[in-house]
Amino acid sequence: MSTRRRGKAIGAGALALVAAVIATSLGVAGAGAGEQSAFALPRAQTFYMSGSQWSPYGDVNPAKTWDYSTGTIGLAYETAFRFNPLTGAFIPWLATGGNWRTNSVYVMNIRRGVKFSDGKTLTPGDVKYSFDLLKAPTHPQNALWASTGLKTVKVVGNTVVFTFAGKPGYQQFDFYRYNVAIVPRHVFSKYSTTELMTGNLDADNIVGTGPYAYVSGASSTAQTFVWQRRAGWWATKALGLRPAPRYVVDIHNSSNQAALANFQAGNIDLFNNFAPRSAIKGKFKTFFNKAPYHLGANTTWLFPNTTKKPLNDPQFRRALAYSINMNQILDKAYQGLVDKASPTGLLPIWSKWVDKKVVAKYGFSYNLNRAKAILAAAGYKDTDDDGYVENKDGSDISLKIQCPNGWSDWMTSIQVIAESAKAAGIKITPGYPDYGTLVDDRGHARYDLVLANDRQYSNTPWTYYQYIFQLPILDNQTTVNYERFSSPKAWALTQQLDRTPTTNTKAYRAVMSKLQTTFLQNLPAIPLWYNGMWAMFNTTYWTNWPSATGGKYTPTAWNNYWQMTSIDMLTHLKPAKGN
């Protein structure tokens, strides 16, 4: 063959190969007709959700509340009660009710006729067993036994009796009433203690009372975790509830942007990732149909390292609080998707406990002049005329504020905080270390100012005050009291709150006032805004989503929310018209 013709032949062959590959892959885009996989899920009966799982799937141990695959508690395992954070009410669930027979004895009535997914009946023995598991010191929820005064858990007839020594930690106990997974003793007793405390357990062996059964996904490289609705869920008969989607698929997250692209392409129904405001349009709805569009899920706090000067001075902290231009943060970082936090830091559901008089007296808001005045009165002056105040002893003040790298909204926020602090004369520079380094530094007090929002919605503001005031202060503050604020008085008040039942409104309110007073007087941490319970709904396949005007359920698949009211979201969902 002549060279030219041969060259052309090669060229043509190569082009043909490339074209064939492209055609094949494009042909996939319209993979309608053709061999159906044995597995493929029908779109109209499947509920896709994203925004919950960032670490690999594989863990189905309900004890590991931060790590178990999305839906382990809520879809598979359930709890004795559920909690409605928007009303503050406890919902009887696996327990039909309960009450304090005496000040230190609680009786829980167990529902009859509840069957596990393997057909065996739920007994009070299973409930006792589930609470007894927490006794092990390495159990992540061991605090129930260690710090509430709980002494014994016994089965009496169809009830489970909790006996406390001394004054019980009512608030904490209430928390565990809706946060301890009720597991089958006949299955779990086969695991070793180590496995139960730290292992991942066997996904093929999930036996729970919940409405869904495991199908697939419990592997570290799985992209999705698939649950399938099962017949025989107790709530269908007892309460007339039935979750609408036949399949619930949780999608693994690697980045918000990738998830958003998939959401906008119609592949996701419930979007619990953060997305900019511009994404809310057309078929994509949110809980509120106007700003702030999302419910608040937790408070974002600014933690100062109170072991370092000048952050050890409450007046300085106060001035700092006054210098923060919250509106600018809400605008620049969130375009109005979040709300400003109360100066007490308490979530809106607890607003009825907010002591307005205390707030009026000791609260703060954005006021540059006030900030400057406080600084001056406290003795911080700009002696060298560089625009920044110095310490009382004359040394320079140069603070670093941090948030994890990649959390774009927070990164913008701390830039705004630094800017507005500068206007008041406080020199602050933002920094964005990666998450692991930040956590480590934060725990070991190697920071000046840092943002954090670990504590979520719960039944009690006690969780917030524990977060701020817990003592003693350890070498590594992994989860609470990052700012290392040591006030035995405040901690004692917190513990007192724990031991005050919510029903004792007068006493409760009194303690809450005292706590708010001591908090605002000292400002060991500065509350900023309510980080959103990000939730966007794709109304193409499913309707009747939670909304401010409709069913007010928590619209998120995040862990620990199913046993609040997220499961109601599924049981009230309806297929969209035409499906």
Binding site: T3, R6, I10, G11, A14, V21, T24, S25, G27, V28, A29, A31, G34, E35, S37, A38, F39, A40, L41, R43, T46, S55, P56, G58, D59, K64, W66, T138, P140, Q141, N142, A143, A146, S147, T198, N200, S216, G217, S219, S220, T221, A222, Q223, T224, V249, S254, A261, N262, A265, D434, G436, T437, V439, D440, G443, D454, L474, N476, T478, T479
Partner: protein, 329 residues
């Protein structure tokens, strides 16, 4: 020849030991304590903190002095035990890697082989056709200088985001699970095209340029002139030139492997492809010592083995080295 091989293998063994030691040391010099990170993600109650810290410290062998950790590491290595992942405790590292490996290989192997084949063919074509040369060469320079990750982002933005021809991320559609079916294969291929292209195009550019220059050199060599003087058709001359030019390209392949693997890691992250790339990023962000170690170990071993294979193969395919080794005439 056997002495040569023995020397070669010894060098590789030494390299392996040094590389693995560095691999063991690196995570430990990263700032941050993995167990504390784990505990704070657990939101463990402070009372449990102490217990859990000591439990995990013992479980991961951090309670023994560093030198002992090092020796234990080698002992475990020879038993095929890469330890347990810290962040995904108690999943073994080997399990995590094996789960991710097929996806990485699915990207790497075709990318390396196809780019080598196509790049060399096109480079050879360009060497003798001026018009092709004027287009292929500048394009190849651009391609080979492009970071794979950046090209991946561009491809994702243009073809996935804007034109919606391909999916943005993942290895297969959400409605499917890995299985042997036509539909899964289709979905897999559909998701595979863009990350594969990012790797393929960049490597292709490098090979095309190299081959083009080598072919020109070979076509001007004495033996090519001699064959032409004896009236051999250009087909035969080109065939010889191509085979001779391929030899240095194969050596180059061994050198380029490390770079391609690194590129694959970042491309996977761009496309959220569930291979070693995303696993690595996760591991680094969470200070998962053992997982980082394990993945790097895998990569080191893989690249070393590939290099060794190419090194040894080269002895057999290039008669000059082979004969020289046998103490030729």
């Amino acid at each position: 020849m056997w002495r040569y091989l023995f020397r070669k293998v010894s060098i590789y063994v030494v390299t392996f030991v040094v590389a693995v030691s560095i691999d063991w040391a690196i995570p430990r010099f990263m700032p941050g304590d993995p167990i504390q990170g784990l505990l704070s993600r657990m939101q463990a109650q402070p009372q449990a903190s102490e217990e859990l810290t000591s439990f995990y410290t013992e479980a991961f062998g951090f309670d023994v002095p560093l030198w002992k950790q090092y020796l234990n590491f080698w002992a475990a290595l020879f038993q095929g035990d890469l330890g347990l992942s810290i962040t995904n405790y108690p999943i073994p590292v080997t399990e995590l890697i094996m789960g991710a490996l097929p996806y990485t290989l699915a990207l790497l192997v075709p990318a390396i082989l196809l780019s080598f084949w196509a790049g060399n063919k096109v480079g050879a074509l360009a060497a003798r056709r001026k018009t092709l040369d004027n287009t292929v060469l500048p394009m190849s320079y651009v391609l080979t200088a492009t970071p794979q990750m950046w090209l991946g982002i561009i491809l994702a933005w243009v073809f996935a985001s804007s034109l919606a021809l391909f999916p943005v991320s993942g290895a297969y559609g959400f409605a499917l699970q890995p299985e042997w079916s036509v539909e899964f294969a289709r979905s897999f291929l559909h998701h595979w095209i863009l990350p594969f292209s990012a790797l393929f195009l960049v490597a292709f550019g490098g090979w095309a340029i190299g081959m083009r220059n080598l072919i020109i050199y070979e076509l001007e060599a004495d033996y090519s002139n001699y064959l032409a003087s004896l009236g051999a058709p250009t087909r035969l001359v080109r065939k010889y030139a191509y085979r001779n030019a391929l030899l240095p390209q194969i050596t180059g392949l061994a050198l380029a492997l490390g770079a391609v693997v690194a590129g694959a890691i970042v491309v996977e992250i761009v496309f959220s492809y569930p291979g070693l790339g995303t696993l690595t990023l996760n591991a680094i962000e969470n200070r998962d010592y053992f997982l980082i170690q394990g993945i790097f170990l895998f990569l080191i071993t893989g690249v070393l083995i590939a290099n060794l294979v190419i090194d040894i193969a080269y002895v057999f395919i290039d008669p000059r080295t082979r004969v020289g080794m046998q103490g030729g005439a």
